[in-house]
């Protein structure tokens, strides 16, 4: 269970390795799919995931690409690169991301946190040898996780439907402008192919354990990924206040209690688990 998070974090890193053209193309394609899909052909529509049929296909496509392309290359990278190098490279790109974190701290009016993150960036860039060593962590300056999608959430923009983007993985309607902004604000996006490739390889390599965890734990990897992604994003957007989850538990629980009382009455209203739609509770 502890690995859920690292999986998603790394997936997020993957999301940020953006090919703008693909993104835009996909947005258009998905928009097209969305309007042509007849709603009555799905028996049960999950409110957070109205495009499940399309999403599942893209998920399978991504998984195949990962199995046959990304994973073998990443394994080779891991085999030839010593662990301290992998950690160093991860730290380097992670440090560059801090610029983006600071921008979003400010956009969300988290000035104190913004100051701490600026200090962390300064420390790691100088003493940490351009970011290869995470000095901030050893002096207790933990990295904050902020991005533009969270900023949009804080500004009150609704999350929108869950989307699986070809090659990039899970996102939401709100996540697309989020990713575009974050990509534009990240220096890694401007350095060209060899560095980008190392970035992608490293991200895949550090996601290894988490991806393995999904394979092991998930009965339905598509749903597992979707639910953990949405819950994780929701948790970040509300800054770790798991209020939604607690309410949710009570609702899930009361379903069972009320089911006991009205035991033999057939369920008339059979919408699939309305309680599960966290986004409704995320303001």
């Amino acid at each position: 269970m502890p690995m859920n998070k690292s999986y998603i974090c790394n997936r997020n890193a993957k999301i940020q390795q953006t090919f703008l053209s693909v993104l835009i193309g996909v947005a258009i394609t998905l928009g097209g799919c969305a309007t042509t899909k007849a709603p009555e052909q799905q028996q049960i529509v999950n409110k957070a995931d109205p495009y499940e049929n399309v999403n599942r296909k893209i998920y399978i496509f991504n998984d195949t690409v990962d199995n046959y392309v990304a994973e073998p290359i990443s394994d080779a990278y891991k085999w030839i690169t010593p662990q301290f190098m992998q950690t160093g490279v991860f730290n380097f790109f992670n440090n560059l991301k801090t610029i983006n974190v600071v921008i979003n701290d400010l956009l969300q009016a988290k000035f104190k946190q913004g100051a701490a993150d600026t200090g962390r960036f300064a420390l790691n860039t100088t003493l940490g040898l351009a970011g290869f060593v995470d000095v901030g962590k050893s002096v207790g300056l933990e990295q904050n996780e902020e991005d533009f999608e969270q900023t949009l959430a804080v500004w009150g923009i609704p999350q929108g439907a869950y989307l699986v983007i070809p090659l990039l993985g899970p996102s939401t309607v709100r996540g697309i402008p989020g990713t575009l902004f974050d990509t534009a604000a990240n220096p890694t996006s401007y350095v060209g192919m060899p560095v980008q490739l190392v970035y992608m390889l490293n991200a895949r390599a550090s996601a290894e354990g988490a991806l393995k965890f999904i394979d092991e734990a998930a009965l339905d990897p598509y749903v597992f990924t979707r639910e953990s992604f949405l819950q994780w994003r929701n948790n970040l957007a509300t800054n770790g206040k798991a209020e939604a989850s607690l309410d949710l538990d009570d609702e899930l629980d009361s379903d069972v209690d009320s089911a006991t009382t009205k035991d033999k009455i057939p369920a008339v209203d059979n919408k699939a688990a309305p309680a599960l739609h966290l986004d409704a509770e995320a303001k």
Partner: protein, 205 residues
């Protein structure tokens, strides 16, 4: 005489009261926090001997701690949601059985060794519907701590875990989405087959 009788009666009532009190503390008085901490201690102990025990050993050692601290029957029921009522009694029993085995197996598989981890208690709060949430953290050397929030409900006169929220991701909600989706798309037999396959895989690694 009357006075003496009264005194006796008072002494008797007092004794009775304290006996009941003592009984309550002894048999069922474990608070939600105590239930969680007992389970965490047992889990860490198994992790410390994880390598020698092997998968089968860990499974045996964790069987009672997991079953006694979690309300696995209730969890199995919540996890399939409204589909529960559509299952026959035999199917319900089968689901509960494999679910219990899966829960223990996943603990035995995922907590296989020890590298200095420890749990710390943070706080405790009551929820609207009479549940208790115990907030704690798993400290991992050289890594970010993982937040573990345990949601407990009273069962009879003891507290049982019905959900674990790790870093904001609710295990119950996650499982519920998976299980209801599989039941709706592929049916009951497919669900049981998938669970058995997971248990099998856990035991092999």
């Amino acid at each position: 005489m009357v006075l003496k009788n009264m005194r006796l009666a008072i002494v008797f009532i007092f004794c009775l009261f304290s006996a009941v009190n003592a009984f309550a503390q002894d048999g069922s008085g474990a608070t939600a926090r105590q239930v969680v901490e007992k389970f965490q201690t047992e889990l860490i102990a198994v992790m410390k001997n994880g390598k020698q025990l092997g998968y089968a050993g860990r499974y045996d050692k964790l069987n009672d701690p997991v079953s006694n601290s979690h309300d696995l029957t209730k969890i199995a029921r919540i996890v399939v949601g409204k589909e529960w009522e559509k299952l026959s009694e035999a199917q319900q029993q089968k689901l509960v059985d494999v679910f219990i085995r899966l829960s223990i197996a996943s603990y035995a598989h995922n907590f296989k060794d020890y590298s200095g981890e420890s749990f710390v208690f943070d706080s405790e709060e009551e929820t609207a519907r009479g549940g208790v949430v115990v907030h704690s953290r798993l400290l991992i050397p050289d890594d970010k701590p993982v937040k573990f929030d345990y949601m407990l409900k009273e069962k009879g006169n003891s507290w049982r875990i019905i959900n674990i929220i790790a870093n904001g991701v609710s295990d119950l909600a996650l499982k519920r989405s998976e299980y209801t989706t599989i039941l709706q798309r592929e049916g009951f037999d497919a669900l049981i087959a998938k669970i058995n396959e997971k248990i099998d895989n856990y035991s092999k690694q």
